[in-house]
Amino acid sequence: MDTGFIIEKFILVAVIFGISLVIAMYSTYAERKVAAYLQDRLGPDRAGPFGILQPLADGVKMFMKEEIIPTTSNKWLFIVGPGLALLCACIGTAVIPWGSPMVIGDKVIPLQVSDINVGVLYIFGVVSLGVYGVMIGGWASNNKYSLLSAIRAASQNISYEIAMGLSIIALLLMTNTLSLKTIVEQQHGWHWNVLYQPLGFLIFMVCSFAETNRAPFDLPECETELIGGYHTEYSSMKLGFYLFAEYINMFVSSAVMATLYFGGYNYPGMDYMATLLGPTWAPLFGTAILFAKIFFFIFFFMWVRWTIPRFRYDQLMNLGWKGLIPLAIANIIITGVVIAIIEKF
């Protein structure tokens, strides 16, 4: 545990934290732009060229707004809620391998904050924790709508976590490891898991829409029924934290999808590029590829949001319990049988 190691990790953590905040910030801008273009509009274009400074203006606005804490709320939990939501959203990035190890001089720097051998479990734990921010915020507001919304969020997350976990088990049968780094290394070149597990990927993707409370599963913030949802009583930057947490969650689940199923930083022809660019720059190129995949998924999240109407709550539960869970179990059985046959012969 030398100081060089600590400095190296500190820089990596700071960079990843900064990048995820910037991406969350510009996701709000992208969301509005994508929505506008899909609806034949222009979107924000007043602040700076093409409205590029809009997120900064929004941030300043959020900070300047009056901060209202309802007198009937549980004050401490009311303040903790948004912080917890944002914290849980941010720490998910710690185990994602952002690139293959980078060689600078004679030092090898892994582009991953920590390669824990239960990376997939860690992601699941963090994602499950995320609902606490929503729960605590909704409950501490002491408002019927907020509470209803928090209950919705909790039951939705629990229902879809099962199907998500089951879809991952089929993947783990193939990879034989829980370490995200190893899973990515197995997908070298174009051996992406999505080619072997298309059904698993589909289930995982639908579940991650539900886990991030995004449309068409955004029932916790369904304004026709619940005013603003769990953040009805929130104002100022606390509201900003909740909105931010949603976008960071979207970024993290895009990163997880890209890592688990779409080969992470791997791309066809990466060996040729590695000899061409050398050991210092090739990993960074891989990271750029990973980010391109992540941006595509973020765009996909938005694209779906502006296409599909919201599910009704009974439809949501039907789809989760009667549709996705049996499908995920069938996927496990098929995967297991196929693996057994291949190993036998």
Partner: protein, 167 residues
Amino acid sequence: MESLSNKKKVLEQKPLSFMERMYLPAIAKGMGITISHLFKKEATVRYPEVEREFSANFRGMHSLKRDENGKERCTACGLCALSCPAEAITMIAAERKPEEKHLYREEKYAATYEINMLRCIFCGLCEEACPKEAIYLDGPIVPADYLRKDFIYGKDKLVEAPLEMKK
């Protein structure tokens, strides 16, 4: 019973087929439609920079006209104020002095002439009522402002620019 128009259609609610219950084909179709809109031309007009072309009979801000010698046409007869359904126009008449002959066409003129743009409904009845062809709604859109008093437009804003200034 037979319906009178024969336009009635009896709808029966069929249970969803397997493909429909999967949602995915319908979702893929819907996403195809939305992505096609990404490449369509947007309908937005970026207003302050770009102005949409108005039709020839567009009624905008009023202007009080001058005659070919640059004299104000209005004689403060009050027909425009009388015809105004929104009661937006008020005026005070005054008698022309001999030395003001080059300013006003008739012997009587409007000393003050005010239109409350918040009351005005831009119906154009004032320009129809005017016997002297002195008022026309041929200007641009009335701009936004912060205070109610700033929407009461006096002669300084309504009267056309003098002839020599126009050139």
